[in-house]
């Protein structure tokens, strides 16, 4: 009887990882739609190509070596028991050791599936920030390095508890990042920032007098759909990060994570919508969409401990901060067409810093060192990688190709060939 309950727990927790992983996988669709909506029509095919290709590259690289680096999962997943060698007795033994209320026991394959979609999420963040001017193949080459090496190493220091280059241990310092405000979102934004700094702004974005010009996105219905898809996928992102469903405590905790995640997104949207209205005089939909995502990023580092009203407030803070961050980056001439660096980077740091308020196991010191470690490593390693790619292949399309749109120069096809063009 006990073994049958353990097997049911195994089945339920494995199922949970698979469903939550599938929800996170769907976030790739959300990023693709959000970015396709916020770039100009002439760059749509290329941004879609980047989004589908980076997802496939992330999954392949994490399988080849990323999982081995991050979780000692073996090159080519050699540590995951294949179906032909699976032995139920080990499940019984592991479950008996963990106990009914202890750590969950689940299929290693489901763990890989849940982890790999997080890598793709981190990489998706980069594509929007460098949109409309980067060479497609240079971007994909960077994706290989980012998802195979840069992210997995940083992930091993955090979620796998390894020492940072053998020097210090983030867990011992009181670092805590539940689902990855820092580990996934700040990491993606740091890589994006390094790329944008080497790439430069889009032509026509900043006038000679330093004036910021708008380059409006082509399709706001798609951007809105993308935001809703991300919002939905985030339930898997944060919910699955509870890592267990199959006992009352875990199930209750996961329900709270879902509740708080949704509350933070709502708070973020309201915050950004109101601030944009006060600052610009109109309800800027793109800022409201960024606000919802900022709310989600803000709660991701600790969705399990705040109360519902705290979660709403954390989200609201993220939504307010993201508007000011976007305006500030524009003043610094750091051109980010979709606001990815602000949403995932600036608010990612905020998310980390909010955790100690409701979680006594986490310290402000640990969060600061953790944020600096993630940013320092990912930004530095990315800068070197982008720089080498720039030297060898170049990272930016020519001025004429940029004017015509990268759909033509990189993909040879337009997204909307039958639409009449306007100036």
């Amino acid at each position: 009887m006990e073994n049958q309950i353990f097997e049911l727990q195994f089945a339920l927790d494995t199922f949970m990882f698979l469903v939550c992983g599938a929800l996170v996988m769907w976030m790739a669709a959300g990023f693709a739609m959000l970015e396709a909506g916020l770039v100009r029509a002439k760059n749509t095919t290329e941004i879609l190509t980047k989004n589908v290709a980076l997802f496939a590259i992330a999954c392949t690289m994490y399988l080849l070596c990323g999982y081995a680096i991050m979780y000692d999962g073996g090159v080519l997943l050699s540590e995951i028991v294949h179906t032909s060698a699976f032995d139920v007795a080990t499940v019984h033994a592991d479950s008996a050791e963990a106990g009914f209320d202890g750590d969950s026991v689940y299929s290693g394959a489901s763990d890989f599936f849940f982890q790999v979609v997080f890598v793709a999420t981190a990489m998706s963040i980069v594509s929007g920030a460098v949109a409309e001017r980067m060479k497609l193949w240079s971007f994909l080459l960077f994706a290989v390095v980012m998802t195979g090496f840069i992210y997995p190493l940083e992930g091993s220091w955090t979620w796998n508890g390894a020492d940072v280059f053998g020097l210090y241990n983030l867990g011992d310092l009181g670092f805590g990042d539940f689902a990855g405000s820092g580990i996934v979102h700040l990491a993606g934004a740091s890589a994006a920032l390094a790329g944008v700094l080497l790439l430069g702004p889009r032509k026509g974005k900043y006038g000679p007098d330093g004036k910021v010009k708008a380059l409006p996105g082509a399709n706001l219905p798609l951007a809105t759909l993308g935001t809703f898809i991300l919002w939905m996928g985030w339930f898997g992102f944060n919910g699955g990060s509870v890592l267990k469903l199959a006992d009352a405590n875990a199930a209750h905790s996961m329900a709270w994570v879902f509740l708080n995640t949704n509350a933070a997104a709502s708070g973020g949207l309201i915050g950004a919508l109101v601030v944009a209205r006060l600052l610009f005089g109109k309800a800027d939909l793109t800022m409201a969409l960024n606000g919802a995502l900022a709310g989600l990023v803000a709660i991701t580092a600790g969705p399990d401990t705040p109360t519902a009203i705290q979660a709403t407030l954390w989200g609201l803070l993220g939504g307010v901060l993201v508007v000011f961050s976007i305006i500030t980056l524009d003043k610094l001439k750091i051109d980010d067409p979709v606001g990815a660096i602000s949403v995932h980077g600036t608010v990612g740091i905020l998310g980390l810093m909010l955790v100690p308020i409701t979680n006594s196991d986490v310290t402000f010191g640990g969060q600061i060192v953790g944020a600096l470690t993630i940013f320092g490593w990912v930004f530095g390693a990315s800068l070197v990688t982008w720089f080498v790619i720039k030297l060898v292949f170049g990272i930016r399309v020519s001025e004429e190709e940029e004017y015509d749109g990268v759909d033509q120069s990189e993909c040879g096809m337009e997204a909307y060939p039958e639409f009449v063009k306007t100036t």
Binding site: K211, V212, K213, A214, L215, P216, A276, L279, F280, G281, K282, D284, T286, M287, V323, I326, I327, D330, G339
Partner: protein, 112 residues
């Protein structure tokens, strides 16, 4: 005969059309156009950054009328298209040399 050409705000088209019909104008040609006047368009905000919309959408209406109807037609357009705000548009009146109805070959005021 006079050719009355008016540039008006798009949302005023129905009112102008009804006003013209009331004074006895029987035909009208409508075109969607873009342009600017003394304000040179206007600026809008996107993500906190300004961009200039220098060509605003307008409606151009053209109607040929007899000399006796020209003043009433112009008055009808001006009163029905007016909002009192900038961008209400303009009316141009020009002499019309000849009008021919293609189907019958009639000419002059009979062809209007």
């Amino acid at each position: 005969m006079q050719l009355v050409t008016a540039i008006i705000k798009p949302f005023k088209l129905d009112e102008v059309r009804e006003a013209l019909a009331e004074v006895g104008v029987t035909g009208l040609t409508v075109t969607e156009v873009k342009g600017f006047g003394r304000q040179k368009g206007h600026t809008e905000l996107y993500r906190g950054a300004e961009y200039v919309v220098d060509l605003l959408p307008k409606i151009k209406i053209e109607t040929a009328v007899g000399d006796d109807l020209a003043e009433a037609a112009v008055d009808a357009i001006v009163s029905s298209a007016s909002t009192g705000k900038i961008g209400d548009g303009k009316v141009f009146v020009s002499r019309l040399e000849e009008v021919i109805r293609i189907r019958t070959g009639e000419t002059g005021e009979q062809a209007i």
